[in-house]
């Protein structure tokens, strides 16, 4: 295997495959290396795939890609022990072309997507681990794999090896992630008849619902839970920062069981048969955790580069865009036959000028703020629930008196100044 390629892409997830697809489409000789039995075998996501960034790679992909349901309703639940405050948006236009986003099962989707890259001319090898980048005079010139005689060479190596990002770490592009820079998430796929799902979620054929759950689902730790509708199954999961999980001594799979047993959740999933259990990390270090993105002959993309907007549960779309931007950078570098850090740096500047850089910058302090100040999840969600309960329980108390009582309970724990500070801090973190 001593052949030389124009580009080697490590990892056939959304970032790697987008890059390989775009490079191959532009006539480059691409090797896409995947460590799983097939692309998708190692990949996990709650399940929301965004149309926009995928469409920029394959127009009208929804006509042939293995998708579950277009999401026509996004619900948000603020859970207390035996109650919840909810808000949602439902729009039928999301159920029609060109759609907004879809639920997907990644093992199926990633396999299909990688095959599309192969159709464009990329070479895909599965069941191969890249153990390190081959570096000569400070320049990445190829990769070492765990196959016999497994060194392969290329002008550029694209690291799309996912959240653990071992290869970029080995190159010194970032230090080991800290427990507050990753979220540990577990999920189950629950099999349920299509008809049952349609009835329980109040949707028609080929209409999907996403529910993001805050509060009691994570026992106050920084994190969220989710419940998404597939065609004939549900994805239910919960995750918190690894640091939060450790601090609260929570067992992830038990946290998931408690979510499944929660009286607000249970009626939706009742009778569902667990068909798969999955655990994965999500990079949630945000803007400040973005590693060095470019070196001589090497580019870092997707989860490996911490491109996840946790607040909006966007990640696969950023992965796809970063893979595409990497490919476009490489195509230009090929034209001038210069793969130095200086030339490839266009990737870094384009990323920072794109929605990826801008959105991550917008929320650069959010995770830290909510982790350092647990009252948002621990106190305000129950307070919201109590306030609603007080206001809507008809017990002969005048509404003015109820309002006073609510205001008093809101400020009882943290004082008026404390609440004002909390509001200002939260606004500052997400403005």
């Amino acid at each position: 295997m001593s052949e030389k390629f124009d580009v080697i892409v490590v990892g056939a997830g959304p970032a790697g495959t987008s890059c390989a697809y775009t490079c191959a489409k532009n006539g480059l000789n691409v090797l896409l290396i995947e460590r799983g039995e097939f692309p998708g075998a190692k990949n996990v996501m709650g399940g929301i795939l965004y149309r926009k960034q995928m469409e920029e790679i394959i127009p009208e992909f929804w006509k042939e890609a293995p998708l579950e349901r277009p999401v026509i309703e996004q619900r948000f639940w603020f859970l207390d022990k035996e109650s919840m405050v909810t808000t949602s948006y439902k729009g039928l236009e999301w159920g029609k072309e060109p759609y907004n986003n879809f639920t997907v099962l990644r093992a199926k989707f990633d396999k299909w997507f990688a095959q599309k890259a192969v159709e464009q001319g990329a070479t895909l090898i599965n069941e191969t681990v890249v153990t390190e980048c081959i570096v000569e005079d400070g320049k990445v010139i190829g990769v070492r794999t765990d196959r016999p005689d497994g060194d392969v060479y290329a002008d550029v190596v694209v690291l799309a090896d996912g959240v653990n990002s071992l290869l970029a770490k080995k190159l010194g592009f970032h230090k080991e992630w800290k427990p507050d820079q990753v979220a540990l998430t577990v999920m189950e796929v629950l099999k349920l008849p299509k008809k049952t799902i349609n009835e329980r979620f109040n949707v028609g054929e080929n209409q999907g619902v996403s529910i993001e759950i805050f509060g009691d689902a994570t026992k106050g730790a920084l994190g969220t839970a989710f419940l998404y509708t597939n065609q004939d199954s549900l994805n239910i999961g919960v995750g918190t920062t690894l640091s939060g999980m450790i601090k609260k001594k929570m067992k992830p799979h038990k946290l998931l069981n408690e979510l499944k047993e929660h009286p607000m959740v249970k009626p939706y999933i009742e009778g569902g048969e667990t068909v798969e259990y999955l655990a994965h990390l999500i990079p949630e270090g945000g803007y400040k955790a973005i590693p060095k993105l470019v070196g001589d002959g090497v580019i870092v993309t997707g989860d490996a580069a911490q491109f996840v907007n946790a607040i909006h549960r966007e990640g696969s779309n950023m992965a796809m865009s970063s893979g595409k931007i990497a490919a476009e950078t490489i195509v230009r570098a090929k034209e001038v036959n210069d793969f130095s850090e200086r030339t490839l740096d266009v990737y870094r500047t384009t990323i920072y000028d794109s929605f990826i850089g801008k959105d991550l910058k917008k929320y650069k302090d959010a995770a830290h703020t909510f982790e350092e100040h647990p009252q948002y999840f621990e106190q305000y969600v129950p307070l919201m629930n109590q306030a609603m309960n007080t206001f809507f329980t008809v017990d002969g108390t005048a509404k003015w008196d109820k309002q006073k009582k609510i205001m008093k309970s809101l400020t009882a724990g943290r004082g008026k100044l404390g609440v004002a500070k909390d509001l200002y801090r939260a606004w500052k973190a997400v403005k």
Partner: protein, 93 residues
């Protein structure tokens, strides 16, 4: 619905390698310096089990998430990917 970790793990396909991709670097650290043994709690697949005097590592059921490597307070876990094609095989999500 799967409740216990054994029931959940039973649903997952593993193509196990004969060699472990996880290694406790120094077993003395677990025994003498780490009273909390957080890995035995947060590991989503219960790979780590304290057996009274030694950390047992059931690498065969590992989801390859990386939490143990990042979460070990003593950086005492050597963590690699299983050999190509081995380890966990997700079939759905």
């Amino acid at each position: 619905m799967a409740v216990t970790i054994e029931e959940k793990q039973y649903l997952v396909r593993f193509n196990c390698d004969t060699k472990s991709h996880l290694e406790v670097k120094n077993h003395d650290v677990c025994a003498t310096k780490c009273p909390d043994k957080d890995c035995t709690i947060f590991c989503p697949a219960d790979v780590y089990k304290w057996e009274g005097d030694r950390m047992f590592v059931g690498y065969e059921g590992c989801h390859e998430c990386g939490s143990c490597r990042i979460g070990c307070p003593f950086e005492n876990i050597k963590w690699e990917y299983p050999k190509g094609g081995h380890g966990i095989v997700f079939r759905l999500a």
